[in-house]
Structures are given as structure tokens and as C-alpha cells.
């Protein structure tokens, strides 16, 4: 393993922002894979996964360097500054680095960070991004694939996770890291899991295992693995969005990942002063809770749940 400082950004009173990479295998050997940890400073699960990967691969490389066939670069995070202040976005101006890609070396600070990160990561065969959901929800671990007409969704089965969410890019995606990787011909996958600002070691372990499995299937490393799920490729058409009809105290009755049946009560919303029951949220279909609102106070029309519909195939 080679630990390197990929780039730095100076600050007035703090130590410079240092973005570190951990490189395994021979530089420029193929196939190659870059793994980028959380861009937002509240992706604790993702930071955990990335640092466990560094630790695990370092141990394996010490034991037997010949297990590494291709090159792997892990960048656990590009945003230590935000992590150290418990902020999601860039501490100075609250901008999201993940809307600055491919970046601009002559531009604003976060555009320059994006440009430097992109320059270090845009020449790999595979590019993985670890991400917490950006909205107020926690979710099961899944692979997100931007459907640009290639076979990435099929290839995502090599992670062995239960669900692969394939969706068409929107205008917002055009400035994201994963989209720009694709434009530059890397096979790009985003692994989404958990809840912002918290650590779930169980779900994080699933993502960790999925990445090791993927690296083995792609013959970048050679390690024994268990086979896992074949993966269900789903689109937005397979997802039922359930909103809260009212604002108040949100009491969820089911965890994410739970199988629910049509008609089952899945949450209650109470009046926050007099305690009266305002609404019982009912599952509108059979399926699996893939996402759940992550805060005990809920707004009217906020998305309370997403359910992946269980549908009979004809």
C-alpha cells in the first residue's frame, strides 16, 4: 500500500485540507478501480466503509502482494474539514462539492477541489462512490446506476446486493462526480446506504462485502468470497412513494428493509401539542421498505417511506 497526498487546499488558520489516497497493487496495472468515500461531511457509514477497506486490503497485501492483479485507489474522503465541524457541505459557503463536477481549476474553491479530485480519479476502469442519501431518509444498502444506455445495471449484479436502482440522469446529475466519471468512460457505480450522521456497522458490512465481491469478480483482487444475491434491477416505476398527509410527530412502526403487506400500518403521525392521532400511514402495496424518513418531526407531504413493490411476474 502506498499512502499519498493527492492534493491540498490551503486555509487561513486551519491546517491545509489534505486529500489522501491509499493505493494498492501496481500503479497503472489493469483492471483498475477507484473508490471515493463520502463527499459530504456527514457520511459516517461511508467513512467507516472506506477506512475498513483500506485496513483490510493493507493486511491482505502484507500477507500476499500477488493477490492484487489490478490497481486500487481508495480516497476515504475529500472533505475532512466538514467532517471535523459536523457539517455536510463546504464550511465556508455551504456549497456541495458534488454539484461542481467536472470542476474548474480557475474557479471557486469547491470547483477547484472538484477539478483536482476528478483529475486524480478519471482514468480508472471502474469508479465507485460511497454515498448517504441526500434527502432526509435512511435506506437499505443498494447500488445506484445512472442509465446512460450502457450495461452498467447488469454489471452491478457483481456487487451481490439485493437491489440495483437504475435511473435516467436528470439535469442535477450532470454536475455530479458519478455522472462525469461515466462521461469519461469509467464504469461508475454509487453505493448508497444508511442514515446521515450515524454509524450502522451491519449495513456498512454489507456494502464492504459487496465492494470486495465486486473487486474479485472484476479480477482486480483474488480472494475467496461468498456468492450472494443476483440483484433485482429496479427503476422509479417499481417504487411506491408514501407521503405524510400531515405535519407532526412521526412514529415509524417498521424498520428499513422490512417486508410489509398491503394495508399494514407502517407509521403514525401525532399532533405535537395535544398528542391526538392525526394519521395512520398504511402500506399501499406489498413490498420492502427501501427508505424511511429519518427525523421524528415530519412536514406535510414529506416522503415518509419508499417501498419497492413486490409484483407478480406474468
Amino acid at each position: 500500500m502506498k499512502e499519498e497526498i493527492l492534493f491540498e487546499i490551503a486555509s487561513l488558520s486551519r491546517e491545509p485540507l489534505r486529500v489522501k489516497g491509499f493505493r494498492f497493487g501496481q500503479k497503472d496495472s489493469t483492471p483498475s478501480c477507484v473508490i471515493v468515500g463520502p463527499i459530504a461531511g456527514n457520511g459516517i457509514n461511508q467513512l467507516w466503509i472506506a477506512s475498513r477497506l483500506v485496513n483490510f486490503l493493507r493486511q491482505k497485501e502484507l500477507e500476499n502482494p500477488s493477490l492484487f492483479k489490478g490497481e486500487i485507489l481508495i480516497i476515504p474522503t475529500v472533505n475532512p474539514y466538514s467532517f471535523n465541524m459536523s457539517k455536510a457541505f463546504w464550511p465556508m459557503d455551504n456549497t456541495d462539492i458534488d454539484v461542481m463536477f467536472p470542476g474548474y481549476e480557475q474557479g471557486e474553491t469547491t470547483q477547484r477541489i472538484a477539478a483536482r479530485l476528478f483529475e486524480k480519479t478519471n482514468n480508472f476502469d471502474y469508479a465507485l462512490l460511497l454515498e448517504a442519501r441526500k434527502d432526509h431518509s435512511e435506506c437499505i444498502p443498494y447500488v445506484k446506476v445512472l442509465d446512460t444506455g450502457d450495461d452498467s445495471a447488469e454489471e452491478a449484479r457483481d456487487f451481490g446486493l439485493d437491489f440495483i436502482h437504475s435511473r435516467k440522469p436528470t439535469t442535477h446529475d450532470t454536475v455530479s462526480l458519478s455522472y462525469n466519471w461515466k462521461i469519461w468512460n469509467a464504469k461508475s457505480f454509487t453505493l448508497v446506504s444508511g442514515k446521515k450522521g450515524s454509524l450502522d456497522k451491519g449495513d456498512s458490512r454489507k456494502v464492504f462485502d459487496a465492494i470486495i465481491r465486486f473487486l474479485c469478480k472484476k479480477e482486480i483482487i483474488n480472494l475467496p468470497i461468498f456468492e450472494c444475491s443476483k440483484g433485482n434491477i429496479i427503476t422509479n416505476e417499481n417504487i411506491e412513494v408514501i407521503k405524510s398527509g400531515t405535519a407532526g410527530l412521526f412514529d415509524s412502526l417498521v424498520p428499513v428493509g422490512e417486508h410489509v403487506i398491503h394495508g399494514q400500518p407502517i407509521a403514525r403521525v401525532y399532533h405535537s401539542l395535544d398528542g391526538s392521532l392525526l394519521q395512520t400511514i398504511i402500506a399501499p402495496c406489498d413490498g420492502i421498505i427501501s427508505c424511511r424518513y429519518d427525523y421524528p418531526l415530519i412536514f406535510q407531504n414529506a416522503i415518509a417511506f419508499r417501498i419497492i413493490r413486490l409484483e407478480s411476474k406474468i
Binding site: I9, A10, D93, D135, A247, L297
Partner: protein
């Protein structure tokens, strides 16, 4: 007349409301009346528009007989943000000006955006007043996307503002209030002026005079035109230069705002307070109009220091 255009329950006790003040002609024959909407406070930390709304409403209160059309004034599109120095939409931490046209069934910021669109829809004109942010101070200016330039530049000239910036269209700006309203047939101008969290009285006075002049020229009010300053306009030929900080430090400006700068003239310094050293000296790359200058002193590498319009064209 104060009207409520949107209301929704918040989780604890309170309701979020959007209000406007509507001024109509005394003689109520509404046929053929033109309508203008003055909108501000989409970014909760931008306060300059509050003073403009006040001055306009004050004039309209005092001159009901001179009103020939409908004038709607919306001072606070992001009410929780305005009342709490929060730029984005609180809780969701999203930029309200990136969720237009919004939707009644989407998350709260989108419901608010939709409420604004439904209320303003049908206006002949709209003016969306912004105040930059806390980092930059802007000369009063109207910003117009290149694709709308033919229609909107003549309207912007009626305001007699210091500067009209015709910029290239950016995909992410399709989710702004102004893009949505222009698409729906309301001629919408975006004004940027001053600095976040502050009121620059002279700018507010000039802009409210300019808006009254514009309303006179399109027949919404009846008032003799007052003299206005000169307008610079960026065209395809003139060039806007961006000056970004080459290093981290504290920016100490050398120039005041609204000045014509010469090529090579000193704009300011980046200093290091710990070392007592000047790290960089920033010079103007061209002759031109300095229309943006850094207000918040602490900078990183890349922080925007100034924008200069080269080749000032007077019209």
C-alpha cells in the same frame, strides 16, 4: 390589501404563510390592467429587497390615484429564512431558487415554490430582487440569460440600473423562479445588488425609483420619470473578467465599489495576519467597471475577489 397566497402546517403549532400586498386602481375596472409582481427574500440572508418593497409600498400608499394597474409586493418568499438569517430553506438546507417550478405534492420547499408560481402566474412582469450573498458586494445589476436577451434587455433598460449582465444559459439555472416565470410568459427580471445581511440605502432608493419609472413607462402607474444614472451593458463583445484569490488569507481591498479601474491598477491584497506578510497583490487585468467586490474578508484559494466588465459601453 394584504392577501395570503399560501399556508401550510409545520410540525409544531405554527403555520408557514406567504403574504403579498396588492395595490389596484381605485376605479375597479380591471379590464386590460397590467400586473407586476415584486418578489424578494427567496434567499433568507438577502435583505436589500426589504427596503425596496417598503419604499414602493409607501409610494403606492401615498398615491392611490396614480395606480393604473395591479402591483403585487411579496417581501418574504422564504419567511423562515428571512427571519433567521438562513439563506436556504430551513431544515431541508436546499436553495429555494433551485426547486422551481415546484409541486403541490413534493417536499415543503417545492410546495412553497409552487405556491409562489401559482400566485405570480398571470403577471405581465415580475422583478426578483436579490442581494448577492454575505461574501460579495454587487453594483445594482440586472442579470439576463442570453436566450431571453432580446425580450428582457429593453425592459431592464427602463429601470435605469447601473449594469445589465447578459450571461450564458446554465442548465442548473432552469430551476430558478425567473426561468420558470419567463417560461410561463411573465417577463421576469433578476436584480442583484448590495450584499447579504445588509441594506444599502442608496441602492434601495435608486432601484425603487427605477422600478417606479419602469412601471410608468409600461402604464401601471402614472408618474413623471425621474432622472437615472447611466447603464453599462455587457454584450457579446465585452468581456467579464473573474478575479479569484490565488491563496488563502485575508482580503484587504484598495478600491471602493462602483469604480472604473485601469489595467494594472491594484484591487487589493491578500495578507497573512500571523506572519504580518502580504501574500498576494491583486491587479486589475483590464480597463473596466468593477461591479463585484469581495465583502467577506476571509478567503481560500479560489474565493471570488472581483468581477470586472471590460470595455465599458455607455448607452
Amino acid at each position: 390589501m394584504i392577501e395570503e397566497v399560501f399556508r401550510v402546517n409545520l410540525p409544531v403549532e405554527e403555520q408557514l404563510t406567504l403574504k403579498r400586498n396588492r395595490f389596484s386602481p381605485i376605479d375597479r375596472d380591471a379590464a386590460g390592467q397590467k400586473r407586476i409582481s415584486i418578489v424578494t427574500g427567496i434567499h433568507g440572508d438577502e435583505i436589500e429587497g426589504q427596503y425596496v418593497c417598503f419604499l414602493l409600498a409607501k409610494w403606492l400608499n401615498e398615491n392611490p390615484d396614480k395606480i393604473h394597474g395591479i402591483i403585487d409586493i411579496y417581501p418574504a418568499m422564504n419567511p423562515m429564512g428571512v427571519d433567521s438569517i438562513t439563506r436556504g430553506f430551513p431544515f431541508y438546507d436546499v436553495d429555494l431558487n433551485r426547486v422551481f417550478p415546484g409541486s403541490t405534492t413534493d417536499f415543503l420547499p417545492a410546495q412553497v415554490a409552487n405556491g409562489i408560481v401559482q400566485a405570480v402566474k398571470g403577471s405581465d412582469y415580475a422583478i426578483d430582487i436579490h442581494a448577492s450573498n454575505i461574501f460579495l458586494k454587487e453594483l445594482p445589476q440586472v442579470r439576463i440569460s442570453r436566450s431571453n436577451a432580446d425580450e428582457l434587455v429593453p425592459l431592464a433598460k427602463k429601470i435605469g440600473i447601473d449594469f445589465i449582465w447578459v450571461h450564458d444559459a446554465v442548465t442548473v439555472l432552469e430551476s430558478t423562479f425567473s426561468h420558470t416565470m419567463n417560461t410561463l410568459g411573465t417577463k421576469t427580471l433578476v436584480v442583484e445588488m448590495g450584499v447579504g445581511m445588509r441594506i444599502t440605502k442608496a441602492y434601495g432608493q435608486n432601484l425603487s425609483e427605477g422600478i417606479l419609472n419602469m412601471m410608468s413607462q409600461v402604464g401601471i402607474i402614472n408618474r413623471p420619470l425621474t432622472p437615472q444614472g447611466k447603464t453599462s451593458i455587457s454584450t457579446l463583445n465585452s468581456q467579464v473578467h473573474f478575479i479569484n484569490s490565488p491563496s488563502a488569507g485575508v482580503f484587504i481591498p484598495s478600491l471602493e465599489h462602483n469604480v472604473i479601474v485601469s489595467k494594472g491598477e491594484k484591487l487589493g491584497e491578500i495578507i497573512n495576519p500571523l506572519l504580518g506578510e502580504v501574500k498576494d497583490v491583486l491587479l486589475s487585468p483590464c480597463d473596466g467597471l468593477l461591479f463585484t467586490i469581495r465583502e467577506y474578508p476571509v478567503v481560500y484559494e479560489g474565493s471570488l475577489i472581483a468581477r470586472i466588465l471590460e470595455d465599458r459601453k455607455e448607452i
